[in-house]
């Protein structure tokens, strides 16, 4: 971690009010709040790290908080950030509908929000919404999957958490491509809620019911890791697995010939971009770019996996 200044860890939201005086008298340009889902998933940690590093580089203090995908908790964190008088909020939100009110509340208090990773269902409330082009990424992953499958065979799909818009977007992107191949037959499709352990047990039962499975396409990397572990345990390392996110775990699996491919979301760079836009906005009252911005995803397979590190691809 590059952080050497104050970093508050999630769960300490209640304590924020207590240290408010310190924050208020901090030197420099004030504080930026960075609110994301739990750092247990390295993707969200990379986001928070990227945002914090950029904020510190630009002369801000940072307040790093996690909402654990709980909209009520997110609401409380917003109250804390507003009370602390932060200059801006960088947010990976806890629900496309549920988050609108919280972002609006910050706006009403004069605090601009810059969203990353996930969209909300309203425009004109946040200043920026920078999201990975999940649909484009899913199409990339699906195209690779189709190629690996030889355009034919039985496959299963692991779907993410339903409340997260990206779960549905990725699934649609996968099917947009795969469903154009009539010889590819989906024999099982189930959510594993982005969870590695859940994906392990789901994969186990899918295999039992459908021993002819030739491939698994997963809505994210943690579920792909869970599925791969179950396949290994069952001696079915012949099954083609494709994930999504571009985590270091899946990178390592690809390099060892396990999981075949994933799709990188440039999480670190995206978070940094959000902070840069916040900085521009704080200084001049505008970002100079449109509210809704897409970032393209990149296919990762054995050809380029070695260049992947912490959700960023080196040249």
């Amino acid at each position: 971690m590059i952080l050497n200044r104050r970093q508050l860890v999630g769960g300490l939201a209640v304590a924020v009010a207590g240290i408010l005086p310190t924050l208020s008298f901090a030197q420099g340009k004030g504080t930026i709040a960075i609110i994301t889902p739990s750092h247990d998933n390295p993707f969200f940690k990379a986001e928070a790290d990227g945002a914090a590093a950029k904020a510190v580089e630009l002369g801000y203090e940072v307040m790093v908080l996690v909402h654990d995908d709980d909209a009520n908790k997110q609401n409380e964190l917003f109250d804390s950030a507003i009370a602390a008088g932060v200059k801006a909020i960088i947010l990976d939100n806890a629900g496309a509908d549920a988050s609108v009110a919280a972002v609006q509340k910050a706006k009403d208090a004069g605090i601009p929000s810059f969203l990353i990773d996930r969209e909300i269902t309203a425009t004109g409330v946040a200043v920026s919404q920078i999201v990975s082009n999940n649909y484009q990424g899913a199409q990339l992953g699906a195209e690779e999957f189709v190629k690996l499958m030889g355009e034919a065979g039985e496959y299963a799909e692991l779907i993410g958490k339903e409340s997260d818009t990206n779960a549905g977007i990725r699934s649609k992107g996968y099917h947009d491509v795969i469903d154009q191949y009539p010889d590819l037959k989906m024999v099982a499709s189930q959510t594993a809620n982005w969870s590695q352990t859940e994906a392990y047990s789901v994969m186990e039962s899918m295999l039992q019911a459908n021993p002819g499975i030739k491939g698994v396409i997963s809505g994210n990397d943690t579920m792909a890791m869970g599925a791969w572990a179950a396949l290994e345990a069952a001696g079915r390392t012949d099954v083609i697995v494709v994930g999504f996110d571009g985590s270091n775990d899946v990178r390592d699996s690809i390099l060892k010939g396990g999981i075949k491919a994933t799709v990188l979301q440039p999480a670190y760079a995206q978070a940094q971009m959000a902070v840069e836009q916040a900085d521009t906005f704080i200084a001049g009252g505008a970002t100079g770019v449109e509210e809704k911005q897409l970032m393209d995803c990149v296919l990762i397979n054995a050809d380029n996996a070695s260049k992947l590190e912490t959700f960023a691809l080196s040249a």
């Binding site: 195209e143 977007i169 440039p266």
Partner: protein, 215 residues
């Protein structure tokens, strides 16, 4: 939902036959409210294509298309400059430059059994393939959408609706393509299409809008 394009096709056919037709949508159709949100996507996209595909997109591609050799020369020095001068950037950070391109070449290799049919062309006469024509029905990428400055992400509800536009454009283009049965290798082909490039060194995958095969 299919009745709208059918009605328009009828109107178009009648118009071509010389009758003077006042362009009104069949009774009742025009009053049908398109559902808001995702449920109305297909209807909205179909309407957008009817309005823009023949009238704006195909003319744009025809007008902007650079010969293969000229486009190669332009991007080899500076993709950004070539893109700004001749292309259009897709929406978003890290998006590719999209160009309209036209050319002629000899088919060196072809895969017509895949759902994503392809023909590899030699356009510079060195006997080696230097670009790939995507012949559908499955088309990779969104260069037909992203080549056009009038299709902007900000005008769409979200990435799903925007992606549906790309897919609909790809489907419209490949539906109109006539790919001759039988061996393509060795034949001379001329084409117009679009290509997306993130780097000057990227292999060219051309989404084809017109294709002529010389026997």
């Amino acid at each position: 939902m299919t009745s709208v394009p059918v009605a328009l096709a009828l109107i178009a056919a009648l118009a071509l036959s010389g009758c003077k037709i006042v362009k009104t949508v069949a009774e009742g159709e025009g009053n049908t409210a398109v559902a808001a949100g995702e449920a109305g996507d297909d209807a909205r996209i179909a309407a957008l294509l009817d309005k823009t595909y023949d009238a704006e997109l195909l003319p744009l591609i025809a007008e902007k298309a650079l010969p293969v050799a000229d486009l190669r020369a332009a991007i080899v020095g500076d993709l950004e400059a070539a893109g700004a001068a001749h292309g259009n950037k897709g929406s978003g950070e890290g998006a590719a430059w999209n160009f309209a391109v036209k050319g002629e070449g000899v088919v060196v290799e072809a895969n017509l059994t895949s759902r994503a049919r392809k023909a590899m062309l030699d356009t510079d006469g060195d006997g080696k393939a230097d670009l790939t024509l995507q012949l559908g029905p499955v088309i990779k990428g969104s260069s037909l959408r992203d080549v056009a400055p009038f299709y902007r992400f900000g005008d769409f509800r979200d990435q799903i609706e925007f992606a549906k536009l790309a897919r609909a454009l790809n489907d419209r283009a490949t539906a109109a393509l006539v790919v001759p049965k039988g061996e393509l290798v060795g034949k001379t082909v001329s084409f117009t299409g679009t290509v997306d490039l993130k780097a000057a060194t990227d292999a060219w995958q051309v989404t084809v809008v017109t294709l002529t095969v010389t026997p």
